[in-house]
Amino acid sequence: MSKVLKGVGLLALIAIVIAFPQVYTNPAVTNYGVFALIYVTAASGWNIFSGNTGYISLGQAVFYGSGAYAMGIAARDWNITGTTVFALLPLSMAVGALIAVPFGLAALRVRRHTFIVITIAFFFIFQLMAFNFSFTGGSSGLGSPFLNWPAATYNIPFYYIALAFAAGTVAIAWLVRRSRFGLQLRAIRDDEDRARGLGVRAMRVKLSAFVISGAITAGIGAVWFYYINQVEPQTGFDPLFDLTLVLMAFLGGYGSISGAVLGALIIEPLTLWLNTQPAFSGGSLSEILLGGIFLIVVLFLPRGIIPTGGELITRFRTRGRAAIAPATAMGSNPRTAPAPSSIGGGASGGAQ
């Protein structure tokens, strides 16, 4: 029953996102769609690594910017123009994956706070390289080749490319979660030393997840670059980008696939909309508001919308009776009712 419902819901969702730019053809509206999907991809990509392993990466912008720059530099130096530029997307992803290897090998030796700070350090090194090397165009950045598409439908191909990336990333996240690999990742998140003791090759597993996440982020960074037609060191390598991803994941539900998607779908359109409002011009009020949302999420929804919502639904459905109710001593306590299963954190499955 509920499986059928889920299937129907998923199909409906797919139909809606595919039909969206056909129904709302206004470029101002499809623009929201493109950015939302870019962030769905990036947040889900973050989640594949950080959500599963518990290592919070604040260096995703390294991949985002590198992917954008890789496409820009390749297009400029090889004189690629027009739609052929999209053929460079695999190159950008490969660059992201290649950068992730030494980055991961250095950063994944340390844990928790130290890991976070190392990722920030890498981020700054990359931003500085973009500023200071000559082949990156310095502080004025790079422009992309020109696309002579009509303005009215310009966004639509980008919408579908971003959609393909988003769907692919969610599919990968789902496959990772179901696989032995995903189980190993979550074992590391629960207790890395014990996981290692049980035979998980921690470094190799962590690094693989980091590389996957890096390739995805670099790919979507390249899409973003071609969409907005330029990249500068401070926009390609943007510290706010990293923190936004974390906020999205936490708002939706840390470690859950649908959580990252939902968080991105809420926050990115909201910030885009706030920036267009005259009352919020200059960005300072939207900054205060974003900070306020942050605080509300962490203080009142500490586990995110999806897990908390799932819990409420379970409680609503089972009100008045014990959840699965074999009247044993344990079952009599409604608090031991089954966790809001499939979409939850999944943290309990790993290391035992």
Partner: protein, 292 residues
């Protein structure tokens, strides 16, 4: 050339002293509360703006103004801890505290934009533009005064930690929170006061920072990344480590500036990565606790 390098080393040590002051606050907060206060950078800038207002509106000397700004920043710190930090518990606390302190930073930054605008300002006084000539070096007076102030305050914090009953309970909490609780230490009070002290030192750090370089509400990010690099390099929670790492990092940066001002800050972060490849716990870090 040798003279030039020596000059930069001296400058590095003087500036490093000021960074040490800010880093001590950060590492102290980490040691007691096990959180990284991302807002530390923007709090330094807030401290700088407080000094700016006092000196331009009320014409109070920068150093005298600290008598007002330090207590104000202490209260702000205690309030932040009371309102947000103390509520955080549970398994994802590391990431949660990161988000909360970042949110606080965003809000403070937004307010500063509203109040002061986005333009660069700097603190000026009779001693910010003039230099002293000693042993063939030209040193701006503010660097010298700032360094002296930093040393005085670091010694004061040190004395507070190692010569008072309160300091003993802070150190006990740093070593083992549960045990500290068991012997009757009010851990929550210690945490609140520590957070307050850690933030209060940013008033002084911010004043010297603002007097040595121009700043705007956005300057906090650059600052917090440097401070994080410093306390990680020194070993999280180690006060001596924070002092050594500040001076080391700032001397490195300052010396590299001779050849390439553009790359100096990259070398700064590269030094962090290299040191951690060799010694993952930093200069004086304790071994990381098993598991999370």
């Amino acid at each position: 050339m040798a003279q030039e390098i020596l000059q930069e080393i001296v400058v590095g040590i003087l500036v490093g002293g000021v960074y040490a002051l800010m880093a001590v606050g950060l590492t102290l907060i980490f040691g007691v509360l096990d959180i990284i206060n991302i807002a530390q950078g923007v709090l330094v800038i807030l401290g700088a703006y407080l000094s700016y207002s006092l000196s331009t509106k009320a014409h109070i000397d920068l150093f005298v103004g600290l008598l007002i700004t330090i207590p104000v920043m202490f209260i702000i710190g205690v309030v932040i801890h009371w309102a947000f930090i103390r509520r955080l518990r549970g398994t994802e606390r590391t990431a949660m505290t990161l988000l909360v302190t970042y949110a606080v930073a965003l809000i403070i930054e937004g307010i500063l934009y509203k109040l002061y605008g986005a333009n660069d300002v700097s603190l000026t006084a009779s001693y910010t533009g003039t230099s002293v000539h000693v042993f063939g070096f030209y040193l701006p007076w503010i660097y010298v005064y700032g360094f002296i102030l930093a040393v005085v305050l670091v010694v004061a914090v040190y004395a507070l930690l190692y010569r008072t009953r309160f300091g003993r309970s802070v150190r006990a909490t740093m070593q083992d929170e549960t045990a500290a609780r068991l012997v009757g230490i009010d851990v929550n009070r210690v945490a609140a006061l520590t957070f307050g002290i850690g933030v209060a030192v940013t008033a002084a750090g911010g004043m010297v920072y603002g007097a040595t370089s121009a700043f705007n509400p956005n300057s906090g990010y650059d600052l917090i990344s440097r401070l994080l690099a410093i306390i990680i390099l020194g070993g999280l929670g180690s006060i001596g480590g924070a002092l050594a790492a500040s001076v080391f990092m700032l001397v490195v940066e300052s010396v590299v500036t001779i050849w390439s001002p553009d790359w100096a800050i990259a070398v700064f972060y590269a030094a962090l990565v290299v040191v951690l490849l060799v010694k993952p716990t930093g200069f004086f870090g304790r071994k990381e606790v098993r598991a999370q």
